[in-house]
């Protein structure tokens, strides 16, 4: 019990200090100097932060769209043809990004892009993000498919519906909670990713985590506290929404 309480305190203390410091006007923030929104104002006035936010959103939207389509298709294949040898290979490939350390994916992709002469930028970031987001979408949708009753599809076929119609009117609506949860997860992961992005970004394309990193590394003012607090609020909201979606049954 004591250990558990200590562990929880250990988890939350740094986050609480960070959020508190974002409202502290002191530049070197060990002493509280009253409540202030000065760092938030600075943040909103910084053109680099806005540019980074724009890049992050462009990437995240593209990544979400591509990985939802690919991931849902993959989950369908994995579920429908579960026993085949092809699906065993398919599953291993989809599982791999979940265990491979990020730095290895980052460096491998960088090498592939350099070897193929692809210029680094937003496009390479999108390609890299899709590669790991697909796995998360596929796993989320697969979980949903596991308690999906395929006799509904057969019933629709018996009633004369073609495949296009079945996909549009039966499969997608019934799988929607899983797909939506996967989409939110992909979006959050893309917005949050630093390591892989760092390797494949190139000089022009700065996303929000890359911006934060350079602010940390090169000693920018405590604007990072404010930015982190905002990011934290957004992530927590997104994950809560995604959990609610995946929990709501049928």
């Amino acid at each position: 019990m004591a250990v558990t309480a200590a562990v929880l305190a250990f988890f939350y203390l740094p986050i609480i200090v960070l959020v508190a410091n974002s409202f502290n006007p002191a530049r070197f923030s060990s002493r509280w100097q009253g409540f202030s929104l000065v760092w938030y104002r600075r943040l909103f006035e910084s053109p680099e932060v806005w540019q980074a936010l724009k890049n992050t959103l462009i990437v995240a939207v593209a990544v979400t769209a591509i990985s939802v389509v690919l991931g849902t298709l993959a989950a369908f294949a994995l579920h429908r043809y579960a026993a085949s040898r092809l699906q065993r290979v398919h599953y291993t490939l989809i599982y791999a990004p979940l265990v491979v350390p990020e730095i290895l994916m980052g460096i491998g992709l960088l090498m592939a892009f350099v070897a193929a002469g692809v210029p680094l930028g937003l496009v390479t970031i999108i390609l890299a993000h899709v590669t790991f987001c697909v796995s998360f979408v596929a796993m989320t949708v697969l979980g949903r498919l596991q308690d999906f009753d395929f006799s509904v599809v057969e019933a629709a076929r018996d009633l004369g519906a073609g495949w296009g119609r079945i996909v549009r009117k039966v499969l997608v609506p019934m799988l929607m909670p899983g797909i939506a949860a996967g989409a939110l997860l992909a979006f959050t992961l893309s917005v949050d990713d630093f390591v892989i992005t760092f390797f494949v970004a190139g000089p022009g394309a700065t996303t929000l985590p890359l911006r934060i990193y350079s602010m940390i590394k090169f000693g920018a003012p405590p604007m990072i506290n404010a930015l982190s607090t905002l990011l934290l609020a957004v992530t927590v909201t997104a994950v809560l929404a995604s959990r609610r979606l995946s929990r709501s049954k049928r």
Binding site: V3, L13, V99, I103, L104, I107, I224, S228, V236
Partner: protein, 295 residues
């Protein structure tokens, strides 16, 4: 598609829905992984790209003492992190599993929430806590445990601390999951038969949750080996690990073949525990079958 002629319609449909992800992952996962090993044998060109021809020089240079020191440090930091995580996670997982259902869900939520914050932000939070002007040092100084010249940042201890912080939730969850399925009446039986509390814990409870312990070990040890941001931001030169060295080779020295050789070492280091655990599990399964237990 003539070559598909010998496939049944069902197989053709299967290929059709599997092909997009198979092709994508072949292109952006399998080929990059293979390139890590291939490029280690290519020379670097002075512009940060890959030169022509082949060489064994880079692989030979891996045996430099400085590289060996980093490999050894990566290993011990990862092992220590994993050990500390397990020591903290077993009592925490146990407490959560034994709590009433209402409290169990609350405690689980409390463990999961820190996961949701940006990883970079969490590392940054520690960096400001351990900063020379930060609160931790002020506290330690007030308690007489630190002098004015004590540095809390930029050493291996800081790396271990922040790594434990990052990986602990990942350790608690599998241990909790195993403890939740564990039948605690067995512990009571052991106690009734005269086992002391610690004995019952060590000889009955720990073996009972061995699957959870194994999972917890893997989910900490593997990413720990590949750590990059943590040693980079709080490690300093004395806390460098394989991951931060790889990044340094890419971004500072602009030498991709060297980075690739180091990454190949990391790939092998990551594979080793995975293969070991798989082999162990297969052996255990076989033993279970021989002993007549249900698999």
């Amino acid at each position: 598609m003539y070559h598909c002629g010998d496939l049944t319609p069902k197989q053709r449909a299967e290929w059709l829905v599997s092909l997009p992800t198979l092709a994508w992952l072949a292109l952006f996962l399998v080929i990059p992984a293979a390139l890590i090993f291939v490029l280690a044998f290519r020379p670097a060109d002075p512009y940060g790209g890959i030169g022509a021809g082949w060489t064994l020089e880079t692989v030979r240079a891996l045996w430099a003492p400085s590289n060996l020191a980093i490999a050894v440090r990566t290993l011990w930091i990862s092992l220590l992190t994993t050990a500390v995580c397990l020591v903290l996670a077993v009592p925490a997982g146990y407490t959560i599993a034994r709590a009433s259902e209402k409290w169990r869900n609350r405690l689980l939520m409390l463990v999961i929430v820190p996961f949701w914050t940006s990883f970079l932000v969490r590392v940054f939070a520690w960096r400001s806590l351990l900063h020379p002007e930060g609160p931790v040092k002020a506290l330690l100084q007030a308690a007489g445990l630190a002098g004015p010249e004590t540095t809390l940042l930029y050493n291996p201890a800081a790396v271990v601390l922040v790594m434990v912080y990052t990986f602990l939730p990942f350790t608690i969850l599998p241990i909790y999951a195993a403890a939740e399925k564990f039948d605690f009446r067995i512990v009571e039986a052991a106690r009734d038969l005269g086992a002391r509390p610690f004995q019952a814990f060590r000889k009955v409870f720990l073996p009972g949750i061995s699957q959870g312990l194994l999972t917890a070990f893997l989910v900490v040890f593997i990413p720990a080996l590949g750590s990059y941001i943590i040693p980079d931001l709080v490690g300093g030169p004395s806390g460098e690990m394989l991951g931060s060295k790889i990044a340094q080779r890419v971004f500072t020295d602009r030498n991709l073949p060297h980075a690739s050789a180091l990454s190949a070492v990391l790939v092998l280091a990551v594979m080793a525990p995975l293969v070991a655990v798989l082999a162990l599990q297969r052996k255990k399964k076989r033993a279970d079958i021989i002993m007549g237990e249900s698999p």
